[in-house]
Amino acid sequence: MALTTGDVGRLGELARIRLTPDELAHLAPQLDVILQSVATVTEVATADVPPTSHALPLTNVFRDDVVTPSLPVAAVLAAAPATEDNRFRVPRILGEEA
C-alpha cells in the first residue's frame, strides 16, 4: 500500500497540521517507508497474545477530596497568546452562518 500526498494531506488536516505542497511531497514517501517497516509487528502479534498498554500493573487510587490552592489567574493568563476581561480570548468557534 502506498501513501499518497493526498492521504498525508488528509491526515494532516485530521491532526490539525497544515502542510505545504513541498512538505507533502517530502513526507509522503518517508511515511510510506516507515509504515512498511513498522508493519512487521503483525508477524508475531497473534490472536492469543493479550495487548499491553502500560508496562507496570497499576490500580486506580483515590486521594482525599481536599481543597488545594490553584495557580493565580494572572500567572496562567500571562502565557496566553490573547486575553480579554481576565479570560483567554480565542478565535471564533462557529461558522459565519451561525
Binding site: 497540521i17 502542510l19 512538505e23 516507515i34 508493519a39 509487528v41 502500560h54 478565535p91 461558522g95
Partner: protein, 509 residues
C-alpha cells in the same frame, strides 16, 4: 579553575560543605566555561547566570549561618529544556513554545532546588524529545564535544554535551526510547533510565506518557546514583508514580561487587549494523566483568527484534494525542488570528508553522495508526508485541540478574548524515527501546574508545523493575576496574588530549 570543572558532583558537594570552596566560586567557574566553549558545543538553549549566582550565594549564606545543607548543595546542574521551572523559559526545543514561561515547577525541579542544586540553565534537545541527534531542535544543533562535526546523541544531546564539555558536573534528561542512554554512549558519559514510575513525570512536557522516564546524567556512576537518589521517589501528583521506596543506590555504588552475579548477553544485539569497534569494546568489558567474578551467559530475547517497530507505532500514537494540547489557545504560538479565521484554521496554521519535520512525521504516523480501520493492525499489534517483549525480559530475569548489550550500535555519526533518512536515525535506539516498552531500568556507561575512530563506546546494563541498585552495583564495579586499567577515566583522558584542548581544562592548552 580547571580543577573545579574537572571535579565530580560528589567531590564538589564535599568541598562546598567543608568550606574549602564557595558555591559561588564553583558556579562562576562553570558559567565562565559555558561562556568560553558553548559557542562551539551549543549545549544550552538558555543560561541564567544571575539566578545561578544568587542561588549559590544563598547556599553560601546558609552554610555560614550553620543551617543544614542539601545533599547536592552548591553543585551546578544542566537541565534538559523539557522540565518546567518558574522564571526560566521552557521550550522543549520547539518553536511552538518559544519564550513560554511556565507558571509552576516540575516535581523534579522542586526536588533539585530542595537539595540546594544550582540550575545553570536549560539544555538543547530534539523537539519534544523526538530524535537521536539533537538535530531536530527548532533552534540549532548541539555538537559533540569529542568532535564538533559529530552529533551528541539525542534527544538529550544538550545535557550529555554539557557534561562532556565540563560545563556542568550533573545534568538531567528524559528517556522515552533511549534519550538519556544513547547521548551518554556517544559522549563518554553516564546516563540512567530509572524504572518507569520511579521518577516523577509531573511538570515534564509529555511525549509518550507510557514510556517517558526522567533520569540522571553524570560523568561517573557515583554522581549518577547521588542525583538519582535526589530526584527519585513517589510523587502523588504523577498518577503512574510507584509508591515504593527507592532501592539503596549509593549503597550499591559502595558495594561495587559483581562476584557471583549472573550477567546475560542479549544475543540479538550484535552482528549486522554494529560497528566492529563497538562490538570489540563491548566484549572486552564482558571479559573484565568475568575477571571480577561475574558469570557471563548468552540469553536470547527473540522478540526484541520487533521492539523498534512496536515502539514506532506506540510512541507516535501517544505523541499524536499528547501534542494535541499545543492548540494555540492558552499558551504558546498562535498564527493566523486575524478576526476572520476560525479556531480550527488558527490551529491548522499554528501547528503547521510551529512544529518541525520530525514532530509532524510522528503526529501523522500516530494519527494514521490510531485511525479506524488501521487501529487493530498497527496500534493493536504493537501492544501485543509489547507483551511479548515483557515476557522475554521476565524469562531472561528468571535466569540472570541483569542483561547487557552495547548501548547503541555505532559511535557518534556526522551531523547531517541521517537527517533525511528517518529509519536510519531510528536505529540508534535499537538496543535501548525494549527497556522503555517493558518499564525496567537501564544504564549506559563508557567502556572505551572504538579502535575504528577513537570515539566513545557505551555499555548498557538492563535490570528488572525496581532493581535500579543492580545497575549501580555493576556500573561502579566495571567503571572502577576500567579506570584502574586506563589510569584515568575516558573524559579525563579526553580533557588532557589535543582533541579536548579547546575546553581548556586539561594539561594541554
Amino acid at each position: 579553575m580547571s580543577a573545579l570543572l574537572r571535579a565530580g558532583a560528589t567531590e564538589l558537594a564535599g568541598l562546598i560543605a567543608s568550606g574549602e570552596v564557595s558555591a559561588r566560586e564553583v558556579t562562576a567557574a562553570h558559567l565562565d566555561q559555558i561562556a568560553a566553549v558553548d559557542d562551539r558545543v551549543k549545549a544550552f538553549l538558555h543560561v541564567d547566570g544571575e539566578r545561578a549566582l544568587a542561588s549559590a550565594d544563598a547556599v553560601d549564606a546558609k552554610r555560614a549561618a550553620g543551617e543544614k545543607l542539601g545533599p547536592l548543595a552548591g553543585v551546578p546542574l544542566a537541565m534538559k529544556d523539557i522540565f518546567t521551572m518558574q522564571g526560566a523559559p521552557t521550550t522543549c526545543g520547539s518553536r511552538i513554545l518559544e519564550g513560554w514561561m511556565p507558571p509552576y515547577n516540575s516535581t523534579i525541579t522542586d526536588k533539585l532546588l530542595a537539595a540546594d542544586v544550582i540550575v545553570l540553565g536549560k539544555t538543547n534537545m530534539d523537539e519534544f524529545a523526538m530524535g537521536s541527534s539533537t538535530e531536530n531542535s527548532g533552534y540549532f544543533a548541539t555538537h559533540n564535544p569529542w568532535d564538533n562535526a559529530l552529533i551528541p546523541g539525542g534527544s538529550g544531546g544538550g545535557s550529555a554535551a554539557a557534561l562532556a564539555a565540563f560545563e556542568a558536573p550533573l545534568a538531567i534528561g528524559t528517556d522515552t526510547g533511549g534519550s538519556i542512554r544513547q547521548p551518554a554512549s556517544v559522549t563518554g558519559t553516564v546516563g540512567v533510565k530509572p524504572t518507569y514510575g520511579g521518577t516523577s513525570r509531573y511538570g515534564v512536557v509529555a511525549m509518550a506518557s507510557s514510556l517517558d522516564t526522567p533520569g540522571p546524567c553524570a560523568r561517573n556512576v557515583r554522581d549518577a546514583a547521588l542525583l538519582h537518589s535526589v530526584i527519585g521517589g513517589w510523587d502523588p501528583r504523577d498518577s503512574t508514580s510507584i509508591n515504593a521506596p527507592l532501592p539503596d543506590l549509593l549503597g550499591a555504588v559502595e558495594r561495587a561487587d559483581v562476584a557471583g552475579m549472573r550477567i546475560g548477553v542479549v544475543t540479538e544485539f550484535g552482528g549486522e549494523g554494529y560497528q566492529p569497534g563497538v562490538e570489540q569494546r563491548f566484549s572486552e568489558a564482558l571479559a573484565v566483568l568475568e575477571q571480577l567474578g561475574a558469570q557471563i551467559v548468552e540469553v536470547s530475547c527473540p522478540n526484541f527484534e520487533y521492539a523498534l517497530a512496536a515502539y514506532y507505532l506506540i510512541m507516535p500514537s501517544e505523541v499524536s494525542s499528547n501534542l494535541a494540547r499545543f492548540d494555540a489557545m492558552r499558551y504558546g504560538l498562535r498564527v493566523g488570528d486575524d478576526g476572520v479565521n476560525s479556531v480550527e484554521e488558527v490551529m491548522n496554521l499554528t501547528r503547521g508553522a510551529g512544529f518541525g519535520a520530525e514532530a509532524k512525521r510522528r503526529i501523522i504516523i500516530g494519527t494514521y495508526a490510531l485511525s479506524s480501520g488501521y487501529y487493530d493492525a498497527y496500534y493493536g499489534s504493537a501492544q501485543k508485541v509489547r507483551t511479548l517483549i515483557k515476557r522475554d525480559f521476565d524469562a531472561a530475569f528468571d535466569k540472570v540478574d541483569v542483561l547487557v548489550s552495547p548501548t547503541t550500535p555505532t559511535t557518534a555519526f556526522p551531523i547531517g548524515e541521517r537527517v533525511d533518512d528517518p529509519l536510519a536515525m531510528y536505529k540508534a535506539d535499537l538496543c535501548t527501546i525494549p527497556s522503555n516498552l517493558a518499564g525496567n531500568c537501564a544504564l549506559s556507561l563508557p567502556v572505551g574508545l572504538s579502535p575504528d575512530n577513537g570515539l566513545p563506546v557505551g555499555f548498557q546494563v538492563m535490570a528488572p523493575v525496581l532493581a535500579d541498585d543492580r545497575l549501580y552495583r555493576i556500573g561502579a564495579a566495571l567503571e572502577a576496574e576500567l579506570n584502574r586499567n586506563w589510569g584515568a577515566s575516558l573524559l579525563d583522558q579526553f580533557a588532557d588530549s589535543p582533541a579536548g584542548a579547546y575546553l581548556n581544562v586539561g594539561s594541554i592548552r
